[in-house]
């Protein structure tokens, strides 16, 4: 077969000829594999990437880059950002701690019908000759009038045979629990259905097919490995994990996820952003980053120019409350209140050209760790004590004045304490 050709016989594009391409090559190679990261950290980083991307677009000075955001209302943008923050805070509730340190796998996360190529069969009455069988028709012939259609085996074939799997665009390394999901032809996600389904198409829940698939897979797993890890993960919570993963990547699915989450009975009594024991230093600043970023964007675009200073902050509080996702959790509450009500951390941020970036350097952050229990509910909010000055916990902030003439005064603050104190300093300058 041609795929068995020696790689050395191929001529690959020479990338080094162009510096830009070389830069891309560097990005290209920058992916992580175990044991560098765990499943929990992978989910968190996926969320962080989505949140950063959101903030970046909100802050983008180039109108072209901001076009996508400008088509949505301020309310929608705020809700989307908060949804991302909410999703991030829910990660500990959907991940399976038992398999947090499991290997990563390259799987096909979009295994729907069109990506499964079968050999030698055809659908009755579907007379699509030869190479045109893959043509995008917009109408699936077996959906309409399906009751009369049957697969017809080609002559000489005893069974349907898998020819191959195509469309590997999304085949990136995934932690075990993110990779162990239903094939999409058995279960789809809200908002991620096929775009060309007829309006009268009635999806089947595929319960019998899913049961059969699990039974077959479980038997094969036992035969091969003696355990049923993958099939167990698929049958327990895989839909929720997959939904969250896809929603973190796709805005259209995120809207559906928000609607689904709002309707979950389990959360109706407590629609808060859950910040559980895995709260890290990152969570603290990510939350504030999101709010600051949005405030900055809103002010820049005069969306809420009538709201200034404290009013602006209360506007956000109002939005949080109205959306019923006010961030409250026992040990987190003092911090949340502090950020949202203290003028110092937020208001000065609006007065400078602020970009709060959490560094994405490899191994920058350790595993998500528990917030020190002794700090919970502390009446005394002392920044110096709350944020340990450890190298691994350092977060890089870029702060600079809004005036372009003083861009050269940009400074890098290597740790969180310094960044926060810098914000305080802006509000209450020494001798001011």
């Amino acid at each position: 077969m041609s795929s068995e050709l020696d790689d050395n016989a191929r001529t690959l594009t020479v990338l080094d000829a162009n510096n830009d391409l070389e830069g891309m090559q560097q990005d290209f190679n920058d992916f992580e594999i175990p044991p560098t990261i765990t499943a929990s950290l992978w989910y968190h980083r996926l969320a962080d990437k989505a949140i950063r991307g959101k903030i970046e677009r909100l802050l983008a000075e180039d109108d072209a880059e901001r076009t996508e955001e400008m088509h949505t209302t301020m309310e929608a943008r705020l809700q989307d950002l908060l949804t991302l923050l909410l999703m991030r805070s829910l990660i500990p509730t959907i991940t399976v701690g038992k398999y947090n340190d499991s290997p990563f796998y390259i799987t096909h996360p979009d295994l729907h019908n069109r990506n499964i190529i079968l050999e030698g069969y055809q659908v009755e009455e579907a007379n699509i000759p030869g190479c045109w069988r893959h043509v995008w028709t917009g109408q699936d012939p077996d959906i309409q009038g399906r009751s009369s259609r049957r697969l017809v085996r080609s002559p000489g074939r005893d069974k349907l045979k898998l020819a191959g799997i195509v469309d590997w665009d999304a085949a990136h390394p995934l932690p075990l629990q993110a990779a162990a999901i239903w094939p999409k032809f058995l279960e789809t996600l809200p908002g991620a259905e096929f775009p060309d389904l007829p309006s009268d198409y009635e999806a089947s829940d595929m319960t019998a097919e899913k049961d059969a698939f699990l039974e077959i897979l479980r038997a094969k797993e036992v035969e091969r490995t003696g355990c049923t890890i993958v099939s167990d993960l698929i049958s327990h919570g895989s839909w929720e994990r997959d939904f969250l993963t896809v929603a973190l990547r796709r805005g259209d699915v995120r809207i559906k996820w928000w609607q689904w989450w709002k309707g979950q009975q389990v959360y109706t009594h407590n629609k808060h952003i859950f910040v559980q024991h895995e709260l890290r230093l990152d969570d603290v600043h990510l939350m504030r980053t999101g709010l600051c970023g949005f405030l900055k964007h809103a002010e820049n675009n005069r969306v809420i120019q009538q709201c200034q200073g404290q009013t602006l902050i209360w506007k956000i509080l109002y939005e949080l409350d109205r959306l019923e996702i006010l961030a409250i959790e026992s040990c987190w509450l003092p911090y949340a209140e502090r950020w949202l009500t203290e003028e110092a951390p937020v208001s000065p941020a609006l007065k400078v050209n602020l970009k709060w970036w959490i560094t994405s350097e490899e191994n920058r952050h350790p595993m998500p760790g528990a917030w020190p229990a002794s700090d919970c509910g502390s009446e005394e909010f002392e920044l110096e004590k709350q944020v340990p000055l450890e190298a691994d916990n350092s977060i890089r902030f870029m702060l600079g004045p809004e005036d372009e003439d003083t861009d050269d005064e940009l400074e890098t603050i290597e740790d969180t304490n310094s960044a926060l104190l810098y914000a305080y300093h802006l509000k209450n300058p020494i001798g001011g």
Partner: protein
């Protein structure tokens, strides 16, 4: 050729009335190797058709027919280039004269070198030799900005997996026995995928691919 390359690729959504790009049908009916299976039927297809037309207008057919096939490792004389429009990509099927060998030249409608590398090329490189079941083999890829890429657009040269896309399942279609046949083989695919965790060696191999 310069005229083709100088034409900017339109972005979605296209407005056919205001676009200077020829329709896909007019491109396909002009002199060239193109053939077409059928006319677009709905609005979505028309938009995709205009995207496809933009690509077809831009690429050099001589390069496509005479140079690209060589990238698959041996000389191939191409007879026809059927055009297949998928949702995100234009697929040009290279059919070898006198044989049934086929290759796919896959060209994304949205031309972005960076996204093309990370979202299209990299995943295929990851799975190229990884699994026992068949996946499209990536022979070559080219970037639009690469001066060595004579085709002038982002593209991948893949082998063509001949067969039929599995049709949408319903409660009654296909027959239960046929469903079980498919599920059995998909379970084998799962077993294969989950038997090969990503290793540090994979990373080294991937890096070596891009340094080749």
């Amino acid at each position: 050729m310069e005229d083709r390359l100088s034409r900017p690729l339109p972005l979605l959504p296209l407005d056919p009335e205001n676009s200077e790009t020829a329709s896909v049908d007019s491109v396909l009916s002009s002199n060239g190797p193109w053939t077409t299976p059928r006319r677009p039927k709905d609005e979505t297809q028309i938009v995709i058709g205009w995207q496809a037309a933009a690509i077809l207008n831009r690429i050099d057919t001589d390069v496509l027919i005479h140079k690209v096939p060589k990238l698959a490792g041996q000389f191939h004389e191409i007879e026809h280039v059927p055009v297949i429009k998928s949702y995100m990509n234009l697929l040009l099927l290279l059919q070898e004269k006198g044989t049934e060998k086929q290759w796919i030249t896959r060209i994304p409608y949205h031309q972005s070198d960076r996204e093309f590398l990370t979202e299209e090329v990299e995943p295929l490189m990851r799975v190229k030799k990884k699994f026992k079941f068949r996946v499209p083999y990536l022979y070559h890829y080219g970037l639009a900005k690469d001066p060595n890429n004579d085709l002038g657009v982002d593209f991948m040269l893949l082998d063509f997996i001949d067969g039929d896309q599995m049709k949408m399942w319903t409660e009654t279609f296909p027959a239960w026995g046929q469903k079980l046949q498919v599920l059995e083989q998909i379970a084998d695919v799962y077993i294969e995928m989950f038997s090969k965790p990503v290793t540090y060696q994979d990373r080294l191999v991937l890096k070596s691919e891009f340094r080749a």
